[in-house]
């Protein structure tokens, strides 16, 4: 890039992730959106699907086939798992970098993928190429990668909440319980009983108990980080709110611990990480809404001898779209904060 802008495309524009990617990239100083695709809405202006973009992004939606011969620097795939792998395979010989926001390349092997996603993987070569794109942990690897598996929303918050503990192998790897809570946008834009207002409003429930796919994603990353085999109890719940994930992580230290020590472990680990904010009190999801921040509050309970670590993110941003942009910045050698300077929108 010499004076010009990097050329990017967003594949799959009908969902929340596609919409938020477009919002961030439309405001990114070093990027130009060349194509936005949607197979079911080809020919319509993007702002027809997402009315907040009227007069801002009215660009016409195209079929993904337009990408085949397009000269692009980065492709963002905002597609369901199972679909995404097909496009990664289709464009594997292009020189374009690919950031895949689905779950298709996040796990270690096709076998693990099959056991948790209940389907065969159609592009197993991708597992070797793909880098798990959690920038705070994988920054250097991301820079040299051409295929990024953008992390899941729950795993982003979950892993960041305890990474300083696992990186130093300080906790019993079987003791970790992550009680997670997410706003409804995590369930996607599709209309269903799950997303019906009357089932969510003024309500609260757990779901996917013991079987949620993000469990293995968290376990694999924490195991790699600690050099142990972590077994994680992960329970997601649904908050009657649009955006936000809050995780409450419980773990047992293997070493002597106190409040000051715990705090310094977190501050040291994240000291150069602009988007991680270690807090003195528990964060709420509105403290990070609309931004790329992950707020973390580590707490030592001397009575029970447990570490409780609470982390909050915006699931659509730090847990998806802005994390993808962060990865793009790293891959293109741009400033990490480029286009990610949004201050949280509260109230």
């Amino acid at each position: 890039m010499k004076g010009s802008k990097y050329k990017v495309a967003i594949v799959g524009a009908s969902g929340f992730t596609g919409s938020e990617l477009t919002r961030l990239l439309a405001g990114h100083p070093h990027v130009e959106i060349m194509h936005i695709t949607s197979e079911s809405h080809t020919g319509k202006p993007f702002s027809t699907l997402h009315p907040q973009f009227l007069k801002i992004v009215d660009k016409e939606l195209e079929s993904a086939s337009v990408i085949d011969n397009a000269d692009l620097d980065v492709i963002f795939l905002a597609l369901p798992h199972g679909v995404s792998m097909e496009f990664v395979k289709r464009w594997k010989d292009k020189k374009t970098k690919i950031i895949d926001l689905s779950g298709d390349f996040r796990l270690s092997t096709p076998e693990v993928y099959k056991s948790w996603y209940n389907m065969d993987h159609s592009y197993t070569d991708g597992f070797e190429k793909a880098i798990y794109g959690l920038p705070e942990l994988m920054g250097e690897k991301v820079k040299n990668s051409s295929l990024i598996a953008n992390p899941g929303c729950y795993p982003t918050a979950s892993i960041l909440s305890v990474a300083p503990l696992f990186a130093a192998n300080l906790v019993d790897p079987d003791s970790l319980i992550i009680d997670a809570k997410s706003g409804l946008t995590g369930a996607g834009i599709k209309a269903s009983a799950t997303t019906h207002f009357s089932n969510v409003n003024d309500n609260f429930k757990a779901y996917g108990i013991g079987i949620h796919r993000h469990t293995v994603e968290i376990e694999e990353q924490l195991s790699a980080l600690s050099g142990t085999t972590a077994t994680v109890q992960f329970t997601p719940h649904l908050i009657p709110a649009d955006r936000g994930i809050l995780v409450t992580s419980y773990s047992k230290p293997k070493v002597a611990m106190d409040s000051a020590k715990l705090k310094s472990i977190y501050e040291e680990f994240y000291k150069d990480k602009h988007f991680i904010r270690i807090r003195e009190t528990a964060p709420s999801i509105k403290d990070v809404r609309g931004s790329h921040y992950c707020d973390i509050f580590p707490f030592w309970d001397s009575r029970t001898k447990r570490i409780i670590s609470i982390a909050a993110i915006d699931n659509l941003l730090k847990g998806a779209a802005s994390e993808a942009v962060h990865n793009m910045n790293l891959m293109l050698g741009l400033d990490e904060q480029s286009g990610l300077n949004q201050i949280p929108l509260r109230p």
Copy 2:
């Protein structure tokens, strides 16, 4: 009672608990509300404070001093802790049964009270008389009591979620983690930053981490139930909803466990308890809203070897007002379900 009705009074009518007690007792077939008191609103119609009662309960609010010489069967105290103990002391020689909805007589000793409530107790004799009024566990004792300490909202849901396990001493008493979530009404009717709409709506946060007073209430009851010393990790969170508590309890069994065994333990333990509903799937708080039900879903995670038990109640009813009415029914020898036949209001 032969043809006539029992005479009751509600002391402290300005809050949510006083309001809900009035709603239930106004519709109770065997009870007549003689007095509703409020020191700060004496002389006003009750429906001025709680407009939903217009033309239903317009009864004039009185000073609590009217109770001194009143001939009553039951007094409900819907007062803050610290205030409530004064009235229990003041009316200790009346023959009237007292149901105290504050925390003043829930704990084992004045010393434990002081260490968690940070104040001296002014009526220590009450500790011996008071029965912890969780009807499903204490039904027989409640029947013969003249002073009931009505349980806290979180303890009601928390204890019921794991009582079958602790009663049979099946779990490691130090393994229990209760990740609890409550609607905003649990914070009371007083206006504050905590209850400001913009801090609650579309938001979610943890609070009172490691120090919430309900922790010791849960620990004491589970310890008594199991004959062990239970240490409980209790973390409350605030749901952007009016009513409802959902607790997610994690524990480690000391014995061999499987799904069928776990289910039968719960079903057996609660088999005659009308208001406990063992579910096949995880309950949501709206499934019990406006009712006296406690819905419980016990789950065995064979992968992690943990029991997860989820319980949902309406914090203002099963966690406060209807629990008090249930206790009253027991104390007066009435049918347990009398006046408690509300079907949950959903959506």
Copy 3:
């Protein structure tokens, strides 16, 4: 009925109206629910569809064909318009009274029906038989009817908000503007973009501007009431709440008006109507939630010379299910309040 109970059936149990009818009728002292039908869920327990009913109403859902030979006193039709007319026709020779909660028999003629509902009516004889079941206005006619067209939710609130004015022909019949707001349950249980949580939560919008079908229903009833031809401006909006309709009605008086006179007109008109509460201040939808009340606040603006009348109801109850039960009570000669003694659930 001598010692026994009236036998009723609910046809169409999958929606909110069917669910609320069941809740009310299950608690009604003079009624027994014989059948609950659902073509798409035949054979399942009712509580599978509506989990709040677990252990309360687990009755098995049946096909509507079971009604053909059933001996019943009252049938409630909780079906979509267009479908409902077929069942009214099918059971027209049964001696059973029918209360139809759809829009199929609310209008004056098949022609008017066709012009607003865009379909031919298949049972035009029904128009003569059907009585518009707004109990406060049509009570006597309802008593002698065998087919009730239960009013729409918006029309119930709208008509009640101004009936005292139109009954005495006090306002310019072309001046009426009804700015109406409804909770999301008015849109039904079907999953769609409209009912997706993220489109409703923290949001607000108008819809059906100038063309909503309830416009003609309101116009016809107010025209009949006043003996004039009323042209009504009706604009519905969507509140991010589950239940409740609030209408703000604006009209110009044809006669001299003042605050005292306005208030006395409303109080006089509704003086024997138990479920109408004339308020001194503006009601909110939570003041009536979960109940059969309609709260009305009439206001004279001497500066602008307009009457503003605000009415609040629970759209699923006073605007649907409890209104149907009220009609049943009238048809069966029961006390009007029978089974309708719920106190509003607030907060």
Copy 4:
């Protein structure tokens, strides 16, 4: 400004307006925030009051007295009415431009002020100097002003919804009814019964019927615009949402009207106004949340012969903070869009 930035101060930082001004100005390319003041929180970091700003704006809060001798280009007053006028008076001889976000200088005369605000005005000279800062209507006057009365939130949406009609004197000036709805942040950050979550959540109500202060503000501006005397019926309602105002305006044209003509009137009037978006369908408040846009949908109801115009804004931005920044841009000769390029945050 030659290479350097304009120096600004925000007086009154504890409320929502002060917080949002800070967010916008912290991201404005041509401005530097020199002081943020709060008398009750002097010495604390700004991010203590508004935790979303942690590590972004931690600047220490100062007393407003620091402004007395400060060299500034623009002062923003985010203070209550009555207080604001004192500071305008105090700093009247400074060369600094003042943008007052209170209601103190919005009306035509001290007499009108007194009759609607029930207090004497202490700086009556300000009325001559102050320009009503609605940029789309007053842009040229704003450029040359040194004292801006930033419009009220409701008046901004209300006036913009019908300005094209009044500017051309097309409607009966007594026919205008504005049925307005606002999110709760319009009630401010102070804790009270009005702002208590349980009174707002799942609720809806009207307030200030016939007497709201914004009525006269709207009337004065529309009268000036049309050269007539407009009498406006204005009724505000409270939406259970954080942000957003939606107004539904009803008026009667004095001239022949049709849909195409109406649309062209609006498009012509706003053709150069970047932040006004004329829509083909009704906007919702989330379509503009977090942005400076005002979305308008004009509708001609040929059946009733009324114009219905619906406008949506973010009350904290277009109705307060971003409108103030827009005014600052005009006063400083900057690009109107400078610092106001936020894309609405939806969902």
